[in-house]
Amino acid sequence: MDLRNDPAFLRGMTHSRRDALRLAGLAAAGLTLGACGVQGKKAAPPEKDAVADYWASKKQNGALRFANWPLYIDKDGKDYPSLERFTKDTGIAVTYQEPIQDNSTWFGKIQPLLAANQDIGHDLMVMTNGIQLSRALALGYLVPLDHAKLPNFAANAAEKVKNPVWDANNAHTIPWTVGVTGVAYNPEYVDGDITSLQELWNPKYKGKIGMMLDTQEVANFAMFLLGIDPDRSGRSDWEKAAAKLREQRDAGLVRKYYENDYVDALVRGDVWITMAWSGDIFQQVAEGKNLKFVVPDEGGTIWTDNMCIPKGARNPVDALTLMDYVYRPEIASMLVEYINYITPVPATRDLVVAHAAKAKKAEDRKFLEGVAESPLIYPSEADQARLRSYKTLSSAEEKFFEDLFQPITQG
């Protein structure tokens, strides 16, 4: 609302502003005053016995503040069934929030706090492997995990998700879910079955193509198109990829560089073909939308969203307890049945099948059977062979990479 147009106010604006140049003078004086800098916030390097040192004095507090991405946990009305069970079983009350929309915005928000050794307001958060997570690890922003307190993870996690390249031995992170970036399209407007990434550069769909804002996502896709394996890529490859993306952008093919909102755009018909995350499309299809998702012939990206404890967390023990709790197959199956991404707990598949058999409504049974059979949730070996991770960047490479791709998606 706006009352700046209140006549009382307009009348009030009668005399002010004489020689406003004075203000400019003041500002200029600022430069001479400005010898002070913004303070450095570098964290101390982690010590050797970090795990033992960190956890020695920590106690369970009975409270946990969990920061996650939107729609990324099972929900029933305003209740979160899995978290309620957690509270019942452990006595830890969870404050569940969904403040994370994309990694770079989220990291931009918490980095000043972490750098200053402050509490970010959350004890547990979920971040995708990628530039920001690597940065957080390199800067010592994440608490080292005490694996002695993660028996369910050790017993039930798929071998594939253990010991990832970005975090050796899961020292600081364990997966929440795994997902695939592929191509989604609306068959109503797109002719035939799409199998190639080339279609994202097809002038036929000018202004109807969605790309992602995340630099690593778009870079990977451009590299797939050029036949470059991201794992083995270097600066010259990235330059070629950037040129390809710039060409696509400058030709007006790209409608917008999306974050989570690409789903809405696809459903509303704003885009016809778009880069997409597997679970989102699975959900939309389950709700009856006529959409398709493919892992392109040239390749798709596999990524992991990881649970981690930020430095300065007030309730780290409670956070660690939840991290292990969600690796109980029963809990993991509750999550996968709602989230519809790839679960790090393979044992859930049998549970989902069992839940389907028990389901009372035919509608629910069909949905759960769909979950158990979906290649998007339990991908085949052949599909997995085509999937690549993001390139793990050194900090020197990172600057080059970001300066190259950021102007494309954010400019």
């Binding site: 706006d2 604006m13 002010s16 004075r22 929030q97 918490i110």
Partner: protein, 258 residues
């Protein structure tokens, strides 16, 4: 009526329709029986969302934060702004031009620049941004609006009433409370409403100074990326209705006075 006038009249109603179009959409989609996680196409009428207003704890908290911030800002800005308005409208003093200048700058400089400069200050001083930095920032832009509004009222005052009070032996303090303040009250109230309205709707400066605090507009902006739930439409409708009611009452009162 002549054709020209008639065309003009149609034109005005068209502009009004344009102005109201998104508002009507907002209100109507608060009643949409959508099952999807986003609220984009009409699925049928329901009142269900009204009973599920508090389904998003973070949204509820954001609305409450917005309201308490706006109230705090209103109180602080109204007190400070009223004092300034009285000084500027009543007295001649050195530094008056400079004060006016700074107030003008506060009113007319781009919000973006104000937000950016405040954040520059906060990061330089190592101040953690959050609830209180929002309050500080909102008072900053609201105080000038209050001062200007009050000043207008003060300038139009008949000073003889106060002089009479003083002649009758009232102390300056009593004169202020019993005579001056009641006379400038309409200006103070208008200024206070303005401060509240500016604060509760502010987005740009808030985004720069909010840290991890979320206000209602910030929550909506974040929700745009994942789909805005019908609850937002309803809360928007409620705030709209409250503001509209105040404006209507205000305008009826104003008409009665004149």
């Amino acid at each position: 009526m002549r054709t020209g006038d008639r065309l003009l009249r149609i034109y005005v109603w068209l502009v009004l329709a344009w102005l109201f179009a998104p508002i009507i959409v907002m209100i109507v989609f608060g009643f949409n029986d959508t099952r999807s996680k986003s609220n984009v196409s009409w699925q049928g009428f329901t009142l269900a969302w009204w009973g599920r207003l508090d389904e998003f704890p973070l949204l509820t908290a954001a609305v409450l934060d917005s309201i308490t911030i706006a109230l705090l800002v209103t109180v602080i800005a109204t007190v400070l702004g009223t004092l300034m308005g009285i000084a500027l409208g009543r007295h001649r003093f050195r530094g008056q031009a400079a004060t006016n200048l700074v107030m003008f700058a506060a009113i007319s400089s781009p919000e973006l620049v104000m937000g950016a400069s405040l954040l520059s200050l906060f990061v330089s001083m190592g101040v953690e941004t959050g609830y209180w930095t929002i309050v500080v920032a909102h008072v900053l832009f609201a105080v000038s609006f209050v001062a200007v509004t009050v000043r207008a009222r003060v300038v139009g005052l008949d000073r003889s009433v106060e002089e009479a009070a003083r002649d009758l032996g009232a102390t300056p303090w009593v004169t202020f409370w019993r005579v001056t303040l009641p006379m400038i009250l309409p200006g103070v109230v208008a200024g206070a409403l303005l401060a509240f309205a500016l604060s509760i709707d502010d987005f740009v400066i808030t985004q720069f100074t909010s840290g991890s605090t979320t206000t209602f507009p910030l929550w909506i902006y974040g929700a745009v990326r994942i789909g805005v739930p019908p609850q937002v439409n309803i809360l928007g409708t409620l705030i709209f209705a409250a503001g509209a009611a105040i404006a209507v009452v205000n305008s009826i009162n104003a008409r009665r006075r004149t």
